[in-house]
């Protein structure tokens, strides 16, 4: 006889815990950075170019949409960076306790967002 057991496979009903959110965002930000590589290297080349090319480069990054995209990548980098440090500590069995793991996960989310806001504001 088939018992009626609750199946918690409904993604709308599963509440992902904070460490899970950090983990999936680590992956999302990693994939975003993968696709950003040519653009970021092109812009890096622009910063090291001659005076005329440098003006072209400045014109490209002056577009508000481009600035928003770059701030998005800035967040992706900072989140991936902070979450990565956390994962390295977890790899050597530091901070595995549930309370600590939740606290550091929140810290990663907050620090990367705050740093993005500050740097984004300064660089706009």
């Amino acid at each position: 006889m088939q018992k009626q057991r609750p199946k918690h496979l409904d993604l709308g009903k599963i509440r992902l815990p904070v460490p899970g959110i950090v983990s999936i965002l680590h992956r999302v930000s990693g994939v975003a950075l993968f696709f950003s590589l040519p653009l970021l290297m092109y812009l890096f080349a622009g910063t090291l170019s001659s005076a005329q090319d440098f003006d072209t480069f400045r014109a490209i990054i002056a577009y508000p949409l481009m600035k928003l995209v770059l701030i998005g990548f800035l967040w992706a980098y900072l989140h991936h960076f902070c979450a990565g440090i956390r994962f390295l500590f977890l790899d050597v069995h530091k901070g595995l306790e549930l309370e600590t793991a939740r606290a550091t996960a929140k810290l990663v989310l907050i620090v990367s967002l705050v740093l993005t806001a500050i740097l984004g504001f300064l660089l706009w």
Partner: protein, 115 residues
Amino acid sequence: MVNRNVVGAHYGLRDWIMQRVTAVVMLAYTVALVVLLLAMPSDFDSWKALFSQTWVRLFTQITLLALFLHVWVGIRDVWMDYIKPTGLRLSLHVFTIVWLTGCFIYSVKVVWGLQ
């Protein structure tokens, strides 16, 4: 008698370690770059002078190589986790290799200022 047939290409642990080691290299580079940027005047000439030094270029290039190896393991894991049809997954692996090889060659041009 336990007769375990261990299968696989045994690249799992090697790649796992490589992803961590390359992460530490990028961590060191990020910290070093932030310290250098804070210590120098923030203008175009200082920025160009920084990246005209051979050791900075070398450190940058090594970090970018670490980055591409790190990205290879990470993106390959993403394809392996979510893409079930073998043909599509293989195509995405090939796309990733081509993309990263292109990025690496371009990075050499950029870092060493080749025309």
